[in-house]
């Protein structure tokens, strides 16, 4: 990678932006750099990054997953039911929640592959289905009598302000980076996403890879929701908003800011992590500057648009200079 290319990369741009905004908020918003705020910032970032990674793992296929909020909450509610309704020990319930996420992902993936329709329409449908069934089964009631280990984990601090949730997320990101770079499965996922026809005629089972990507997305969505459970100390049906839609903007912001191609076939795990972190920081900083929550939402929407346009310009520049 040449030096010019590095300075034009998304990752470098994001690091720069994070530094700039950290300086601005540090000076302008009192308490932004306090250990408590850094702790909550890290904890929120842990969930947001995980949401971004969940979307990223489907964007790899050139598709998307509108149902991640619904899947995550359904999986977390399932884990809550396993504990309170069945009496399963909590580690097993966690595993059950992740398995539920994978199962819902399998439903999405298999339907996409079987029908040949775009994942947009399939996951739009399953978003409503999953969420509706979950509300029906739980009667929209929360699981609040969870073992103390959940909320303890959510409150735990390392070195004064590092949340263990953030460490879990970063470890997950490392595993994903390793998956895409160093394993056959990851490479096949990317190949299948970039050019399905060529991938199939090169011996890749494209359908299987698409399903795997959706299952991975489900597991990551379940992890994000279980982290929310740890933060709240309870599994709440509305913790990702109506139909889980509160997650959607966040889910796209991370990967898109980070330079994951929406057409599929190329990912940047580091970019997604940095992108989601930047978004979390902006949310926290703007709120501390006493800017209304709806303005924050507007700002994030604008950011998504600007990020896409900038990326387009950057690619055109690289292509013109024959750098990429």
């Amino acid at each position: 990678m040449s030096r010019t290319r590095f300075f034009l990369s998304n990752e470098f741009g994001l690091v720069l932006l994070i530094a700039v905004f950290a300086a601005i908020f540090g000076l302008a918003a009192t308490g932004f750099l306090s250990p408590f705020n850094l702790f909550t910032l890290g904890r929120n970032a842990a969930v947001n990054i995980m949401i971004g990674l969940s979307m990223m793992s489907v964007i790899v296929t050139g598709g998307l997953n509108l149902a991640i909020g619904a899947m995550g909450v359904s999986a977390a509610m399932f884990a809550g039911w396993l504990i309170e309704g069945v009496g399963v020990p909590w580690p097993l319930a966690l595993a059950g929640g992740l398995a539920c996420g994978a199962g819902l992902g399998f439903i999405n993936g298999a339907t996409v592959v079987r029908s040949g329709l775009h994942s947009f329409i399939i996951t739009l449908a399953t978003m409503s289905i999953f969420f509706g069934v979950m509300i029906f089964l739980t009667r929209a009631e929360s699981y609040r009598d969870l073992p103390a280990v959940f909320s303890d984990f959510g409150r735990m601090k390392f070195a004064g302000y590092v949340s263990p949730l953030l460490l879990v997320t970063l470890a997950t990101a490392l595993v994903l980076a390793w998956l895409y770079r160093r394993t056959v499965t990851g490479r096949e996922m990317l190949a299948a996403g970039a050019q399905p026809g060529a991938a199939e005629l090169s011996g890749i089972r494209v359908g299987r890879m698409v399903i795997l990507c959706h299952m991975l997305s489900g597991v990551l969505a379940a992890m994000a929701a279980l982290m929310l459970v740890a933060r709240n100390g309870a599994a709440i049906p509305s913790m990702a908003g109506q139909l889980g839609q509160d997650w959607l903007l966040l889910a796209f912001l991370g990967p898109v800011l980070g330079g994951t191609l929406l057409q599929g076939g190329k990912v940047s795990v580091l970019g997604t992590v940095l992108g989601a972190f930047l978004v979390t920081m902006l949310q926290s900083g703007l709120l501390m500057l006493q800017i209304g929550a709806f303005w924050v939402q507007t700002f994030l929407g604008l950011m998504l648009l600007i990020a896409v346009l900038l990326d387009k310009a950057r690619r055109a520049y690289l292509a013109r200079r024959n750098l990429a």
Partner: protein
């Protein structure tokens, strides 16, 4: 009746792109009533020159003249206004629009709110279709036409724009022999009516047949400038294009008679409608599958690979009856490789690196515990083959999409060499690649067969088929109409093949 007065002239045309000088002072002169060949290998600058003539690019230096008057084209509309039309290699029609709408696309939008008079539109379209003997309803959507007819619609469109200079970029690439003959008759008629035609093609036989003048480009310069075609031999053309004489085509025969059969089809039927397919390819043998576009050759290849279901008969790989359920199974279990004619969407993953493209079929085999796989291992496995095929790339990390067509094709072949397949099916091996690479690829396929691989070639290029194949199976209407042993004699082979497609009577009529 060629006029001496040139319709169009380009002098000293230079074009620089960042880092590349695509044209370094090129001249070309097009006269009315003439068919002018523009030849050159991929990368010689043909496409750039065409784009400058049609106003897509503006030259860095040099002058364009129309009727002796210096012109500057700021965009394609300027060129069209001066009577320069082009029929591109890629189809530029809107499939769901009607023939008439496509022909008059530029003229329809004269007034935003005026309703379109379709009766008038269709009547005017018929005016342009008739001279081309194109008997289609102008109201019919273009998507229902054959490829050859679409091509003619594009020519009609160019003519309706009052084009006096018509550029044809590889117009015969997807036409059958008889369709090509019809196209040529029409081009000759246009020539006789005074139009100046510029004909770009890789097929030298065609160029010699129809063109009266020729310009050859090599490395962005004129290897010859608008000289008369009379007295120029095929060898001369090749020498001008590649800068040296063509290596003699080695039509050596292989003796594969005693070798074991690697791929055998007996009475095979497929879900796509193939029936009674009998085909056999022995180890060390090159079998050609000849047929017109739409005969079902590519479809048969994909059915063998397991992409489409085989519904009857017996398939044997290395003597064993098999049922292949998926492409992955064909590749990984049975060692069958397939080089697609459609490199962009089925052959390569253009946005991924050269290394990744060449390595896909061997990933599974190279992977260690837990599917672990590093770049180093892949590089060791594929680099010898990329080097053997002289793939020119700045680095293995380069995106395959940035390489030339010839180099891309080499990668498509190299990946199967690295995978060590026993059976290789190559679909249109030389589509979109230049003569030098084509000759190289032919040698490579022969070497591969000599090394014991069973090779099945699908091509519509008769000289290529005769240069490569030991036996030629002829396909028509989703069945095999016969198999002929290749004697290496072009007239004899083409007659016998055409007999098998059209029946002996038809061949006698056309002869």
């Amino acid at each position: 009746m060629m006029t001496d007065h040139p319709l169009f002239e380009a002098q000293g045309i230079e074009k620089a792109f960042p880092g590349v000088r695509a044209l370094k002072g090129v001249d070309i002169t097009l006269a009315g009533g003439s068919i002018h060949a523009l030849l050159g290998e991929n990368g010689a600058g043909k496409s750039t020159l065409i784009k400058i003539i049609t106003g897509v690019h503006q030259p860095t230096a040099g002058t364009l003249r129309v009727d002796g008057e210096a012109v500057r084209f700021a965009g394609t509309r300027d060129a069209i206004a001066r009577g320069i039309g082009v029929v591109h290699q890629e189809r530029n029609l809107f499939p769901r629009f009607s023939v008439a709408e496509n022909i008059h696309l530029e003229q329809i939008g004269a007034s935003y709110f005026k309703p379109i008079d379709y009766a008038e539109l269709n009547r005017k379209a018929r005016q342009w279709l008739e001279p081309l003997e194109l008997d289609v309803d102008p109201a019919m959507p273009v998507s229902e036409l054959s490829v050859a007819k679409m091509q003619l619609v594009e020519i009609a469109k160019a003519l309706s724009l009052q084009s006096r200079v018509l550029l044809l970029d590889e117009p015969t690439a997807s036409l059958t022999a008889s369709e090509t003959d019809r196209l040529f008759a029409i081009l000759r008629r246009l020539r006789d009516a005074g139009t100046s035609l510029l004909f770009v093609s890789h097929k030298l036989e065609e160029v010699q047949e129809i063109c009266d003048r020729v310009t050859v480009l090599r490395d962005g310069e004129n290897a010859c400038d608008s000289r008369a075609m009379a007295g120029v031999t095929r060898g001369d053309l090749v020498e001008m294009m590649i800068g040296r004489a063509e290596s003699a085509a080695s039509g050596r025969r292989r003796a594969a008679d005693g070798a074991p059969e690697m791929l055998g089809l007996q009475k095979v039927a497929t879900e796509l409608g193939h029936r009674d397919i009998d085909l056999s390819v022995r180890a060390g043998e090159i079998v050609g599958l000849y047929g017109l576009v739409g005969a079902g050759r590519t479809e048969l290849a994909k059915a063998i690979l397991g992409k489409f279901a085989i519904t009857g008969g017996e398939t044997r790989v290395a003597g064993e009856a098999v049922r292949i359920g998926s492409v992955a199974e064909a590749i990984h279990r049975h060692g069958i490789g397939y080089v697609s004619e459609d490199r962009k969407s089925e052959g390569l993953i253009l946005q991924h690196s050269v290394l990744s493209n060449a390595g896909i079929p061997v990933w599974r085999r190279l992977a260690g515990a837990m599917g672990l796989l590093g770049d180093g291992k892949v590089r060791d496995a594929v680099l010898p083959y990329l080097e053997k095929l002289e793939v020119k790339t700045p680095s293995l990390a380069q995106s395959a999409g940035n390489l030339s067509g010839g180099n891309q094709q080499k990668i498509s072949v190299a990946k199967w060499l690295a995978a060590g397949v026993r059976i290789l099916i190559v679909d249109e091996p030389s589509v979109g690649i230049d003569i030098k690479t084509k000759a190289y690829l032919h040698d490579l396929l022969r070497d591969l067969a000599d090394g014991g691989t069973a090779v099945l070639i699908i091509t519509s290029d008769m000289p290529e088929m005769i240069a490569l194949a030991d036996r030629i199976a002829v396909m028509d209407g989703y069945t095999i109409t016969g198999v002929v042993g290749n004697t290496g004699s072009y007239p004899e082979m083409s007659r016998r093949i055409m007999d098998l497609i059209h029946g002996p009577d038809a061949a006698a009529r056309t002869a």
